[in-house]
Each structure stands twice: as structure tokens, then as C-alpha cells.
């Protein structure tokens, strides 16, 4: 492929929302333009696998959770992490308090909603660490493939569901539930956190210096966007709303989301922390009978881009 032009296509892993505020801010504020880049942001959705889009040449870079990206790497799609704007994980399980759940061991016999599509790995490895089978029964948990809203919890079809601190948890509260009625388990607190929203590209492209240079500019501008978003959350949320073409987002929701997102990006300057990486890999390797990755990956990340960008 020719990387001599200055266009960059970024595949998001979800619909337009404040989770991706940094990129929209960089676009809106002209940071990309300043770098001489012409950036297109492609929203995602439940039917879009960003690695597949990357493989098909539909995008130059993608956002992905690391478990999913590492799994893709083992499947023969060599993606490489070039930057990690999210320092901490926002993933958690949210349960009704009145189910009597106080700790992971109480999950036995309960029904739990989990996101699949490559996002089930952290949960599975957590359960295997706790020694809880995931195939139903009184001693195990019954797993549901959760859709992308909080209905299963509200309707009490599940005792616990997966939520993101910045999104679904807020939706539960919006439904009128007070935090006292809920128990939450953050993966971060349980020691099973895996890295989320990183920027990935195809390994073969990195061999091309032109492409590398483009990515350097892209990451630099993006991080500038992120930092601006962190310090101006309300403005960032409004920018996101501006770019949402579905017209389905509400302002209140996006502002709150931006507030939570800022907490997750806070500790990162964009470069991947090797310790976080190692913890993610360890968690995944500890996964149960059907592990996400069977061996520690090689070359799944690089500091070359961030080193250059942050100079």
C-alpha cells in the first residue's frame, strides 16, 4: 500500500461517544491538520471487528482492547501496539446487592452477563483464577452473552452484568437505581485488569518509514487531543456530540462519560507501560481451559512511535 499521502483512517471499536473524545478533539481543534494529516474517524459497533477492518485495509490504525488484539496476533494477524492512551481499565461487574453477592465466591449459582466478541477473556481468566466453572450448574456461573445495554440487569434476567465505569454503569444509575442497591467489582481492583483502548497498526506497515512518520504525527496529535479533553471535559463532550451522526446521544450522558474517561487516561502520556503489558499477558495466560493466547507474544508492542512522538 502507498503511505506517501497524508491520510489516516482510524477504526474505533464502538459508536461515537466520549470514550473516544481525544481523537475527536484533535480533529475538531485542528491538531491533526497542524501535523499535516488528513484523519478520518470510522465509528464501530457490535458487528465490527476492528482487526478485521485493519486486515482488509479499511483502516490504517485501530483502537482495541489488548486481549482481543493479542488474540488476533495469535490468529496470524500481526498487529502491534504503538500507543496506549488508556492507563487503567474501566471494566467491572455490576451486581444487585439483594442477590447477596459480596465477593467473587458468591458468583456460584448466579447468572452473569458477559460481553463476548473478544472481550470475554478477562472474565474467563478471572473465573478460572477463582476456580469457578463457567458452564452453569450450582457450583458454577451461568454465563449469558450480554447485548449492549443494561436491560438484563434492570429486568433482572441476570444477577450481574458487565459494565464500563464510564458508560453502562451510568446507564444503570440513569434507570433510577441508586448505587446503594448495587455491588460492583472492578477488574482493576480484582487484579485481573487488562489494557483497554490502545492504538494498533499492522506490523508490516511499520517497516515503511513514511508510514511510521505518519503514525508519529498521529499519536502526537492524538495525545494532545486527549490531554485537552482531560482538562476540558465538558467541551470535549460537546465536540463528541457534534460528531455523533446517529443523533442518539444525550449531553448529560456524554459529559458524565467524559468525566469517567478522564480518570482512565489520566496516568498515561501515550506510551505503553511494560508492567501493565506484562500483567495483561499474565492474566490472559492464566485463562482457563481455552486460553486466549497460548504463549507470551513477541513483538506485540513498540515504543518507537511514542518515543519519537513525545520527544
Amino acid at each position: 500500500a502507498s503511505h506517501s499521502d497524508n491520510s489516516v483512517k482510524l477504526q474505533l471499536q464502538w459508536v461515537t461517544q466520549a470514550q473516544f473524545a481525544g481523537y475527536y478533539v484533535a480533529l475538531e481543534k485542528g491538531y491533526y491538520e497542524e501535523e499535516g494529516l488528513d484523519v478520518t474517524i470510522l465509528p464501530g459497533g457490535p458487528d465490527i471487528a476492528p482487526p478485521q477492518v485493519l486486515a482488509g485495509g479499511g483502516a490504517d490504525a485501530m483502537l482495541n482492547w489488548m486481549p482481543s488484539a493479542l488474540a488476533a496476533r495469535e490468529k496470524g494477524l500481526p498487529v502491534v501496539n504503538i500507543a496506549q492512551p488508556f492507563k487503567s481499565s474501566g471494566l467491572m461487574l455490576t451486581c444487585w446487592k439483594d442477590t447477596g453477592i459480596t465477593g467473587p465466591q458468591d458468583f456460584k449459582g448466579k447468572t452473569i452477563g458477559v460481553w463476548f466478541f473478544g472481550n470475554e477473556y478477562p472474565f474467563l481468566s478471572w473465573m478460572s483464577q477463582e476456580g469457578i466453572p463457567t458452564d452453569g450448574g450450582d457450583d458454577g456461573v451461568t454465563v449469558l452473552k450480554q447485548g449492549f445495554n443494561v436491560d438484563p440487569l434492570i429486568q433482572r434476567q441476570a444477577d450481574c452484568i458487565s459494565t464500563m465505569t464510564y458508560n453502562e454503569y451510568g446507564q444503570v444509575l440513569d434507570a433510577g437505581v441508586s448505587p446503594d442497591e448495587l455491588v460492583t467489582f472492578k477488574y482493576e481492583d480484582m487484579g485481573v485488569a487488562t489494557l483497554e483502548d490502545g492504538i494498533y497498526v499492522l506490523e508490516e506497515n511499520l517497516a515503511d518509514p513514511m508510514f511510521k512518520e505518519k503514525m508519529v504525527k498521529f499519536v502526537r496529535a492524538s495525545m494532545k487531543g486527549w490531554k485537552y479533553a482531560e482538562s476540558h471535559p465538558d467541551e470535549a463532550a460537546e465536540i463528541v456530540l457534534e460528531y455523533d451522526e446517529t443523533g442518539a446521544q444525550s449531553e448529560a450522558h456524554q459529559k458524565r462519560m467524559m468525566g469517567e474517561i478522564a480518570k482512565l487516561t489520566a496516568g498515561s502520556d501515550g506510551s505503553l507501560d511494560e508492567a501493565d503489558y506484562q500483567r495483561t499477558v499474565d492474566t490472559l495466560l492464566a485463562g482457563g481451559s481455552d486460553p486466549v493466547i497460548s504463549k507470551a507474544p513477541e513483538g506485540a508492542w513498540t515504543h518507537e512511535i511514542t518515543d519519537e512522538a513525545l520527544k
Binding site: G45, I48, T99, N149, V150, A175, G176, G247
Partner: protein, 305 residues
């Protein structure tokens, strides 16, 4: 026209049942809300009520009925809520607004129409091939049937990605998915139609020593028109479904399909229902348009009676 009264009667009954159904459907949430607001309900505690039937709860708590028709994110929105949302997102918004259903409807419609055109064209060409070539008939027909047993939702993302990788983006991928759904009814109907003249009508042309092309133009084609229209009505509805399915894996940004989907991410049931109804209305309008064209054409051809 004779149907107006029966239709109204049926609609009235459906509305009544609908309102009633809101009671058991939404009562759990209504009670929880009431409890949070400090109102006494029977029995107390959401966990307690969890396995109770909605009907029983509705009967024991008549005080909360009104709330079942006025929730923000109800399990079953009440008809007036859906209507209000429909009104709000069509008449009250500029058509260029992202929050206008007309805007989203237009996006979907354009993919539908393009897909319908492609699908119909392909279907007709395939049907012509099938009636003129035994080899094609025998090889293609079974696979055309099999192709329809494949869940389109499963391959739609792949179609999008594959097309994307060869540089095709935007309207066309959606239209192709929509064409995939609409070509089949057209093939089936058109094959039937092209074969509908009886042996005598073919013999007649043979006594005139007519060529294959003449037989097609003068006999097969006109004879197939009624069949074609019947298929087109099925086909346009299928196209619409295809366009919506095609919208899901394209980043779901615009169109009625995207409305449905984003509505479901945020549990916006009212938004889902109004998008659903907008789709059904769109389908009804499209089918009615084709039916109108059918009436006109058949009348011209002396077939409309």
C-alpha cells in the same frame, strides 16, 4: 375503501390490548420507582418482586398504573409515547438534523432503492438465463435456494470488509446486501412468469416461424409482467430489510438501522419502537408505490380489470 371500518376496529382493539399489556410489562419498574420515591407498594423489595408475575403485581398495585404508561425507558412503551416520539423526530425536526427520522429514513431509502434496482436487474437477468438455458436452470436454481438459507446478518460484516478492502465504500456495500435479499423473489417470480404462457401460445408463434428473441419480446416478457410485479412487492420489502441489516456493520452511523441499534445500546425503547414503525411505514409506502405502478401498467396492458 370497504376496509376502513374493519381496519379501524382492529387497530382500536390492538391499541387497547397494547395499553393493557403495558401494565404487566412495566409494572416492575414502576413499583421500583415508586418505592424509591417512598411510596408503599405490595410486596416490598425489588428482589421479592422479581419472580412475581406482572399481572399479579399490576392487580395489587393499581396506584402505579399511570406510571407504566409514562416511563422513560419502559419495557413496552405505550402507543402515545411512540407516537409522540415519531411526531417529535419527523415533523418537529429539520430534515437535515441528525435527530430527524426523515433524515435517517432517507439514508436507508437510498440504499434500499439502489439495492432494489441492482437486485431486480440481477434477478431478471438470471431468470432470463434460467428459462433459456437448461444448464443454467439445473445448476443455479438449487444454489439460489440454498443462498437464501444463509443468515445475511452473519455475512453482512464480511461483505462490508471484503468490499472495503477493494476500496468500495459508502452506499454500494449496503445496496449489495440489500440486493442479495431482493434478487431471490424476483428470480422465482420472473422464472414463473417467463414460463407462464401455455404450450398453445408458444405453438402459435412457431407457426409464424418466430425467432427466440421475438418469442421473448412478444410473448414471454409481456406474460411475465404480472408475476414480476408480485415479486417486486416482496422484493422491495426485502430490500429495505437488507439495507437496514447492511447499516449495522458499517459503523452504524446513519439510517434507520443505526437508529434501531443505537437505541438498543442505550435501552431507549421508545426510540427503537419509533424507528421500527418508521421502517414499517416506509415499507408500506414502497409497496403501495409498486402496487400503484402495477395497477397503472396492467391497466395499460389491458390486464387490469
Amino acid at each position: 375503501m370497504r376496509s376502513v371500518v374493519p381496519v379501524l376496529a382492529v387497530v382500536a382493539v390492538i391499541l387497547a390490548i397494547w395499553y393493557l399489556a403495558c401494565l404487566p410489562m412495566n409494572i416492575h419498574t414502576a413499583l421500583t420507582n415508586a418505592e424509591r420515591a417512598g411510596v408503599a407498594v405490595q410486596p416490598e423489595g425489588a428482589a421479592e418482586r422479581r419472580d412475581r408475575s406482572g399481572i399479579g403485581l399490576a392487580l395489587t398495585n393499581p396506584g402505579q398504573w399511570a406510571d407504566t404508561w409514562a416511563q422513560d425507558k419502559p419495557r413496552l412503551p405505550a402507543p402515545h409515547q411512540v407516537l409522540a416520539e415519531l411526531w417529535d423526530t419527523t415533523a418537529m425536526k429539520k430534515v437535515t438534523s441528525k435527530r430527524s427520522l426523515v433524515f435517517h429514513g432517507w439514508i436507508t431509502l437510498s440504499a434500499t432503492l439502489l439495492g432494489f434496482a441492482i437486485g431486480t436487474g440481477m434477478g431478471i437477468v438470471l431468470a432470463i438465463g434460467i428459462v433459456h438455458s437448461r444448464a443454467m436452470d439445473m445448476s443455479v436454481m438449487p444454489w439460489a435456494i440454498a443462498s437464501q438459507t444463509i443468515p445475511i446478518l452473519a455475512i453482512a460484516p464480511m461483505i462490508i470488509v471484503v468490499l472495503n478492502s477493494v476500496g468500495v465504500q459508502g452506499l454500494l456495500p449496503k445496496a449489495i446486501i440489500s440486493a442479495y435479499l431482493s434478487f431471490f423473489p424476483v428470480v422465482v417470480g420472473m422464472v414463473k412468469g417467463l414460463r407462464s404462457p401455455d404450450a398453445m401460445q408458444f405453438d402459435l408463434l412457431r407457426t409464424y416461424n418466430a425467432s427466440r428473441g421475438q418469442t421473448f419480446a412478444k410473448l414471454r416478457l409481456p406474460a411475465s409482467v404480472p408475476y414480476l410485479f408480485a415479486s417486486l412487492k416482496v422484493g422491495i420489502a426485502a430490500s429495505l430489510v437488507g439495507a437496514i441489516v447492511g447499516e449495522l456493520p458499517t459503523g452504524a452511523v446513519r439510517g434507520l438501522g443505526a437508529r434501531l441499534l443505537t437505541g438498543s445500546y442505550y435501552g431507549q425503547t421508545i426510540q427503537i419502537w419509533s424507528a421500527l414503525f418508521a421502517t414499517a411505514v416506509l415499507a408500506a409506502v414502497l409497496v403501495a408505490l409498486i402496487a400503484g405502478a402495477e395497477r397503472m401498467t396492467l391497466k395499460r396492458m389491458g390486464l387490469g380489470r
